[in-house]
């Protein structure tokens, strides 16, 4: 069984990395999600697939052939955390794309390299740059 998990994890990690290296932001975020699942599978496999029963010890019974519960606990934690972070990444992706029309990694880099705007430093104005994202929206349509 371990070899199957290893192959699957390897294949998923490959797909994840391939997507991560893409210029399209949607593919990049999906790549992170797939890579995360590949690694979750790898962590689960790290405890080996020995044992056939849930490792529940009660007052009266002890399972004869318990499965390793630790990697299950680890991977459960990792899945929950990974899901939360993926949701956040999607939210950022959505707002970058919809409100500012940015869809590629190159464009993201370009925008962060722009000179700092003359803002009221304390301001934290939310719509400080409404004026210039129409230009980006044009780009998307093309």
């Amino acid at each position: 069984m371990e070899w199957l998990a290893a192959l699957t994890a390897g294949g998923l990690a490959g797909i994840g990395m391939w997507l991560l290296l893409d210029r399209n932001l949607i593919r990049v975020v999906l790549g992170v999600a797939i890579l995360g699942n590949a690694i979750n599978l790898g962590v689960l496999a790290s405890g080996r697939f020995a044992g056939s029963e849930a490792a529940f010890v009660t007052a009266t019974t002890v399972p004869a052939d318990p499965a390793n519960a630790l990697p299950q606990a680890l991977v459960l934690t990792a899945i929950v955390i990974g899901f939360g972070l993926f949701a956040f990444a999607l939210a950022v992706l959505k707002s970058v794309r919809e409100s500012h029309g940015v869809t590629t990694t190159d464009r993201v880099t370009e925008i962060t390299e722009e000179p700092a705007p003359d803002i009221e430093e304390v301001g934290l104005q939310i719509h400080q740059d409404d004026a210039d994202h129409h230009h980006d929206a044009e780009e998307v349509r093309q």
């Binding site: 992170v32 990697p71 990444a89 950022v92 409100s99 962060t112 430093e121 304390v122 719509h127 740059d129």
Partner: protein, 497 residues
């Protein structure tokens, strides 16, 4: 004692919860945030006092003995890091007391701040590899919320870069934790250290530790994986940048120091690689800064270059060098966060953070100039400020081990740092403001920020003048790192202490 050991995590978490419950009441949230940060600072100082009396707090959580349960261990290094985290958190909360701008966003800053602090403190006190991963994720989600705060095109683009690359680093860490478990059967740092020190580590475990160090290197922004940091730190709101600059990369550095000293106490192949990486990080960071023309972008590259010094200390692996790295860590967090705060205040007064559009501050606000000069000169390593002693010890340690070229790189980086700082000084303070003196805004709005930067500058001076006791503390901390008795005791004498 048990409560004190977990307080660094529970104080920010409780503050966070109270903050969320008080959401509609902005003033109250700010008060709660300040009180929470002050309490964390006090707990940190108490922990340092305990650690200084050679008490090491070790607690097994949940009633499970190590290596099955999760261990919390606070030694000298952890205690110092918790204290400094509290101080930076307090400074950021003070700076965040401004009233201009969107009030909801300002309120959210105070709430998310404590989420970040909980993650950072958790990472500093845990003695378990997987638990370290969990705290990394906690601080990561807090930092995601903080960096995107306020929105805007440039900021969200920077957030995108930051999110993807940090997620990648954390995933690599998760995989390495899984591999460590599969090859050694443990996740407890103490047991891991015992296995490695006894020479019983299988090759797969060595590989897994190397992989873990790679993920920490991304977190700490080491050469060649530092690119995400200067691409994202300058887009955030000033106190957020300052928090990140002070704390986040340093969590990566701390984790590296912790793991490397635990598993490879003697100089070896890994240290040789780290030595080259450290020198490259110092040089590339400082040269990158030379090409920048905005205050925070210059400072971001300097974070990279300064992290190189700490890794240099770690790579040399002699007791003096490790002590130098610990001293550097303590000094650097204060100085770097302060420079970002001051940069923010200067940008607000001049109306821009582009050097070309700034100027005239020396005439209009000489106090700000002096407050800038203290951390800037300290960063470059001018005596008698804290940075001088930090660099002095590291250079001395490299020469003692015969690595004269590493010492040369460290000194050269210091000169370039001074050049960069004088560039900011000339453009921001000495030069006349391009739009005339009238364009400089002086008002009372930033008074809390002034308290924060004055306090941090005073700390820099104090660490410089009182370098003796701080260095003694760092040397003792290095001693504990070289021989982490308590980490091992938790395994060999479960339930002890």
């Amino acid at each position: 004692m048990k409560a004190l050991a977990v307080a660094p995590v529970f104080i920010p978490l409780i503050t966070l919860l109270i903050g969320i419950m008080l959401r509609p009441y902005h003033q109250q949230v700010k008060v709660v945030s300040l009180v929470g940060a002050a309490l964390l600072t006090l707990v940190g100082i108490r922990l340092v006092a305990l650690a200084n009396a050679d008490v090491v707090l070790a607690v097994q959580l949940g009633g499970w003995e190590a290596p099955y349960g999760i261990t919390v261990i606070i030694d000298r290094l952890s205690a110092a890091m918790v204290a400094i985290t509290g101080i930076i958190g307090l400074a950021a909360a003070l700076y965040g007391l401004v009233r201009e701008g969107n009030p909801d966003v300002l309120r959210n800053f105070h709430i998310f701040l404590h989420g970040l602090l909980a993650g950072v403190c958790g990472a500093f006190i845990t003695g378990d590899v997987f638990n370290l991963y969990v705290w990394f994720e906690v601080l990561l989600i807090g930092s995601f919320a903080l960096i995107a705060l306020g929105g805007g095109r440039r900021r969200l683009s920077g957030t995108m870069t930051y999110v993807v690359l940090n997620l990648l680093a954390t995933l690599v860490f998760l995989l390495s934790a899984g591999l460590i478990y599969s090859s050694t059967g443990t996740l407890n740092m103490g047991e891991l250290g015992l296995i490695f020190r006894a020479g019983e580590a299988p090759p797969a475990a060595t590989l897994a530790v190397v992989m873990m160090l790679v993920s920490f290197a991304i977190k700490a922004a080491l050469f060649p994986v530092f690119g995400w940091l200067p691409a994202s730190y300058h887009v955030a709101w000033t106190p957020v940048s300052a928090l990140f600059a002070g704390l986040l990369t340093k969590v990566g550095v701390y984790a590296m120091i912790r793991i490397v000293t635990l598993v490879w106490p003697e100089y070896g192949q890994a240290h040789e690689v780290l030595l080259w990486v450290a020198c490259a990080t110092m040089l590339v960071g400082v040269l990158g800064a030379a090409a920048q023309n905005e205050v925070r972008r210059i400072l971001s590259f300097h974070i990279v270059s300064q992290v190189g010094y700490m890794i240099l200390g770690l790579a040399l692996a002699s007791p003096l060098a490790i002590a130098g790295a610990v001293f550097y860590l303590i000094h650097h967090i204060v100085v770097k966060a302060n420079l970002f705060f001051i940069g923010g205040i200067a940008a607000r007064m001049t109306g821009s953070e582009r050097l070309a559009a700034m100027g005239g501050l020396y005439a209009k606000a000489p106090w700000l100039a002096i407050l800038f000069a203290i951390p800037a000169l300290s960063l470059a390593g001018i005596p008698p400020l804290s940075g001088f002693w930090a660099k002095f010890v590291l250079v001395k340690a490299s020469l003692a081990d015969g690595f004269w070229w590493a010492a040369g790189v460290a000194l050269l980086t210091g000169i370039f740092t001074l050049l960069s700082m004088s560039k900011i000084w000339n453009e921001t303070f000495l030069k006349a403001h391009p739009q005339g003196e009238k364009a400089i805004r002086i008002d009372d709005e930033m008074r809390w920020g002034w308290w924060a930067i004055s306090g941090l500058a005073a700390m820099t001076v104090l660490i410089g003048i009182g370098a003796g006791p701080v260095m003694e503390y760092a040397i003792a901390a290095a001693g504990q790192l070289a021989d982490p008795v308590v980490y091992f005791q938790a395994i060999t004498h479960p339930g002890g202490r």
